[in-house]
């Protein structure tokens, strides 16, 4: 597949669009369909397309496995950290109202951070799973 010019050029054009769309889904999830879970999967799909067209070796060079391991945990820590922060601010665990002066602002900030954590972990886990399977029989 790596020698097919049509695939390579189309992939190069379409991958940035996929990643941009994933970011739109991530940050527009409050107002339309979307959110961290969908955005994470779509973001990972961009990387998976890169891995399918250019080979898993190229994907492994683009995102080093050490970084992936770190990012998998980062999203969960961000989510749990929002909860810990609201507790430190004197409210209940994951009660976002404490994050800002007014309830709505706090909710917006809290939901934004939590969805970001979901998106980060989901995309990193999906890319990791793909690399683990597709890179298994690399020469």
């Amino acid at each position: 597949m790596r020698d097919n010019p049509v695939l390579r050029i189309v992939a190069k054009i379409i991958i940035p669009v996929i990643l941009l769309f994933a970011l739109y889904v991530q940050f527009h999830g409050d107002f339309g369909p979307g959110g961290g879970f969908q955005a994470g999967v779509i973001f990972a799909a961009g990387f998976i397309l890169y891995g399918l067209v250019f080979g898993t070796e190229a994907l492994r060079n683009a995102i080093p496995p050490g970084l992936l391991r770190f990012v998998i945990a980062l999203g969960l820590v961000l989510y749990a950290g929002v909860g810990a922060t609201t507790m430190l601010l004197g409210s209940d665990y994951l009660a976002y109202g404490a994050l800002a002066d007014d309830l709505i602002g706090g909710q917006h900030l809290g939901i934004f951070l939590v969805e970001l954590g979901v998106g980060i972990t989901v995309s990193a886990v999906t890319v990791t799973i793909f690399l683990a399977f597709a890179g298994r029989n690399d020469p």
Binding site: F31, G32, P33, G35, F37, G40, V41, V122, V125, T126, I129, A132, F133, R136
Partner: protein
């Protein structure tokens, strides 16, 4: 008996049983996992069917709409789908390791090798 009113559930049960049948009748571990996935997807359809309200709208609030479908099953299933693919990947990883250890993914072959040890 209102047949149209229960049609959704019956089709879901048919799909569920198809997945169940693949799981218990097939000896190939990959096909078993695909059967589990069929079963899982049919459970998703069951939940979403229960959340539908007649003449309801998509649960994104607007000024001029009063009836919305039930958003709670949507939330449960939304997360379940992503969790489902993650656990499926774990199962497939186990299958890959079994293949590397036994040289086969057929249940009968694996049993035979275990007995000959």
């Amino acid at each position: 008996m209102n047949v149209a009113g229960l049609y959704n559930y019956w089709i879901v049960i048919l799909l569920m049983m198809t997945g169940f049948y693949v799981v218990i009748s097939s000896g190939n571990l990959v096909k078993k996992i695909i059967g589990l996935n069929l079963f899982q997807a049919s459970v998703f359809i069951l939940y979403i069917s229960m959340g539908k309200v007649m003449n309801g709208a998509v649960p994104i609030l607007r000024e001029d709409v009063t009836t919305y479908s039930n958003p709670l099953p949507h939330v449960l299933i939304l997360t379940a789908i992503v969790v489902g693919v993650a656990t499926t990947a774990l199962g497939l990883a186990l299958v890959v390791r079994i293949r590397e250890a036994y040289g086969s993914v057929e249940e009968d072959d694996i049993h035979r090798q275990d007995e000959s040890l």
